[in-house]
């Protein structure tokens, strides 16, 4: 099962990198969303994948006697999902505002902070 998931993670990363190399902000943001999901799956896979095993220990035992899922990656992924989702939401709003104000979603045309024909500093006075 790990092999399949790993191949899927690789695919996700490929798609994410391809989208992030685009010059359109919306595509970059979609790439970031996919990257976040790829990372989450990577953490999850790193914590050992098990099927149909709850991360529970019977109440009368201290040490599990049957296979149990590792609960820690689930906690980590939960944190990471919340964070990456909120950041994606913020960046989406930011990109929309930037599109409204700057009239473009192409990053090559966003030259306000770094003007294209920048003057060289004064050489003398």
């Amino acid at each position: 099962m790990e092999t399949g998931v790993v191949i899927m993670i690789g695919l996700f990363f490929t798609v994410a990198v391809y989208l992030m190399l685009s010059t359109q902000l919306v595509r970059i943001l979609l790439g970031i969303a996919i990257l976040g999901n790829a990372v989450n799956m990577l953490i999850f896979t790193n914590g050992r994948l098990t099927r149909e095993d709850p991360p529970l220990i019977p109440p009368d035992l201290y040490v599990p006697d049957v296979a149990t899922a590792n609960p820690l990656p689930q906690a980590l992924v939960l944190t990471a999902i919340v964070i990456s989702f909120s950041f994606f939401a913020f960046l989406l709003v930011l990109a929309f505002r930037a599109y409204q104000e700057l009239g473009t979603d192409g990053v090559n045309e966003m030259r306000l902070a770094e003007p294209e024909h920048d003057q060289t500093p004064p050489q003398g006075y």
């Binding site: 990257l35 976040g36 009368d60 201290y62 913020f90 930011l94």
Partner: protein
């Protein structure tokens, strides 16, 4: 629990003894800032009360960090675990000399920025949440410096990142949206890389506690294996992006000049240095073997960063963008220290980080005051500031000397240590690059001095004629709120320059504590560690 087949000693997994009262200081910086931040958020619309509360809490933060520093110097490394679970089960806050020193200096800078904000952030900016965001930014920064858990380091990075987004677009100008897009996207990619590396590290060792990882790495037969090398390379790329090292530095000059000047000041002081701190932590404490064979790569990156920063500064005519490149040049010096990696070099890097936090914040504040006096950030339109205030010109000269690494101010000593360490390690190129970069930065600072301060008026006016006074829309200088923070920071720059012994000892202890982390490990795992 009747019928249990195995008996387990719970005291192995949990702390049973009460935590000494003084150790609660460990969580004080994060608690203070998060409380103050929420309080300011509740009083968002009361723009008169907000600065008082914000500055009050920032002053408390400085005091808490000072107490924590004293306690760490007395008792050695302090660990506090959450929920009484002992590491590696519980999340740990582990405070060593390196973390608490940077946290201390960071809180001083934040306090100064809070005071400076009284003069430069208008009531609109306050209503949009300058003080809540500043305090929550400090939650993230303090947490990152004090945590002993690598996943929590990621979480604190995100806390400071989301607050920095809020600060960056405060004011909602078009240019700010442009800068924020670049800053936001690239920093998010960097934190995702950090998370990838952390996920892989967890997959290898099954633990996230830094001390536990350090022990497991040390116990490996082949600590320089390919898997660990991948993780180390990912960490290096992620933190180099955070710290704005070449070639992943271009988001910094694109965004740092867009927000309110006090926001630029905090960012330039703190944020890149958190990246450098994380780099030191990961490369020296967690993966020392990887640092060994990656040190040539780090050295090349350091040299390139030193030179791009300095040359970029020379090519700018806008003061704040020029300073953005000076920040990058400073990052190069710290990377040089990490590349050499001896205790001496690391102490130089730590001292340089402290110096850079103070001096870059002060210089951005100076650029704000220059704009208030001269009405522009453009070197072509500035002039005659010396005539307006000779004392202010003196302050700029002090800071300019310090940032170029000239004696007798705070930049001199860490550069001496770094160059000495580079030469004694047989890396003459690295030492030479630090010196060349220092020379070029001196030229850039000299250019600001000549055009903004020394000549009589702006470009086009005959020399000797005073610059036209700032138009009415420019923010007026309001006494103490402007000069007090700048005064504090300049005094620190002069003090560290004239009395460097204290700081050198502190940074040597900090460097020693991570090169040979016995104290760190013992603090986390008790005596058996």
């Amino acid at each position: 629990m009747a019928g249990s087949s195995v008996s387990v000693d719970i005291s192995q997994a949990m702390t049973t003894a009460a935590i000494p009262a003084g150790d609660w200081l460990v969580v004080a910086p994060t608690l203070i800032t998060i409380l103050g931040g929420s309080l300011c958020l509740m009083l968002r619309k009361n723009t008169d009360l907000q600065p008082k509360i914000g500055i009050g809490f920032l002053a408390l933060l400085v005091l808490a960090n000072l107490a924590l520093l004293i306690r760490v110097l007395d008792h050695g490394v302090i660990t506090m675990v959450m929920g009484s679970w002992l590491p590696p089960f519980g999340i740990a806050f582990t405070v060593d000399t390196l973390g608490v020193t940077l946290s201390m200096i960071g809180s001083i800078v934040a306090f100064c920025a809070g005071v400076f904000g009284v003069a430069t952030v208008d009531s609109t900016g306050r209503r949009y949440g300058f003080y809540p965001f500043l305090l929550l930014l400090m939650t993230g920064v303090s947490g990152a410096f004090l945590t002993g858990d690598i996943f929590n380091l990621y979480v604190w990075f995100e806390v400071l990142l989301i607050s920095s987004y809020g600060l960056l677009i405060l004011g909602n100008d078009r240019i700010q949206l442009d800068g924020a897009v670049k800053y936001g996207v690239l920093n998010l990619v960097a934190t995702n890389l950090f998370l990838i590396a952390t996920g892989l590290l967890y997959g290898i060792f099954g633990t996230l506690n830094m001390a536990d990882i350090a022990m497991k790495v040390a116990a490996l037969e082949n600590p320089a294996s390919g898997t660990l090398a991948t993780v180390a390379a990912l960490y290096f790329l992620a933190f180099a992006m955070k710290a704005a090292a070449f070639p992943v530095n271009f988001w910094l000059p694109a965004s740092y000049h867009t927000p309110n000047v006090v926001v630029s000041a905090v960012f330039a002081g703190l944020l890149t240095k958190v990246g450098v701190y994380a780099l030191i932590r990961v490369f020296v404490l967690l993966l020392p073997a990887s640092r060994g064979y990656m040190s040539d790569v780090v050295a090349a990156v350091a040299i390139a960063t030193l030179l791009t920063g300095a040359l970029g500064a020379l090519a700018q005519s806008e003061v704040r963008r020029l300073l953005g490149y000076v920040v990058i040049a400073g990052i190069g010096s710290m990377l040089a220290g990490i590349s050499v990696g001896s205790t001496l070099a690391l102490s130089g890097a730590i001292f340089y980080a402290v110096h850079s936090i103070i001096v870059m914040t002060a210089l951005y504040m100076v650029s704000g005051i220059m704009c208030m006096m001269g009405g522009s950030y453009d070197l072509r339109k500035l002039g005659g500031l010396y005539q307006k205030s000779a004392a202010f010109a003196g302050v700029f000269l002090v800071l300019g000397f310090a940032v170029s690494g000239l004696p007798p101010f705070s930049g001199f000593w860490p550069k001496v240590i770094l160059v000495d360490a580079a030469f004694s390690d047989g890396r003459a190129w690295l030492g030479a690059a630090i010196l060349v970069s220092g020379f070029l930065v001196t030229l850039a600072m000299g250019r600001i001095w000549i055009f903004a301060f020394w000549r009589g008026g702006p470009e086009g006016t005959p020399d000797g004629e005073a610059a036209p006074s700032a138009d009415g829309s420019a923010i007026q200088l309001t006494g103490g709120a402007v000069w007090l923070p700048l005064g504090i920071l300049t005094a620190l720059v002069v003090y560290f320059g004239l009395q460097p012994e204290w700081m050198i000892e502190l940074s040597t202890r900090g460097a020693g504590g991570i090169v040979e982390p016995f104290g760190y490990l013992r603090s986390v795992f008790g005596e058996q560690g």
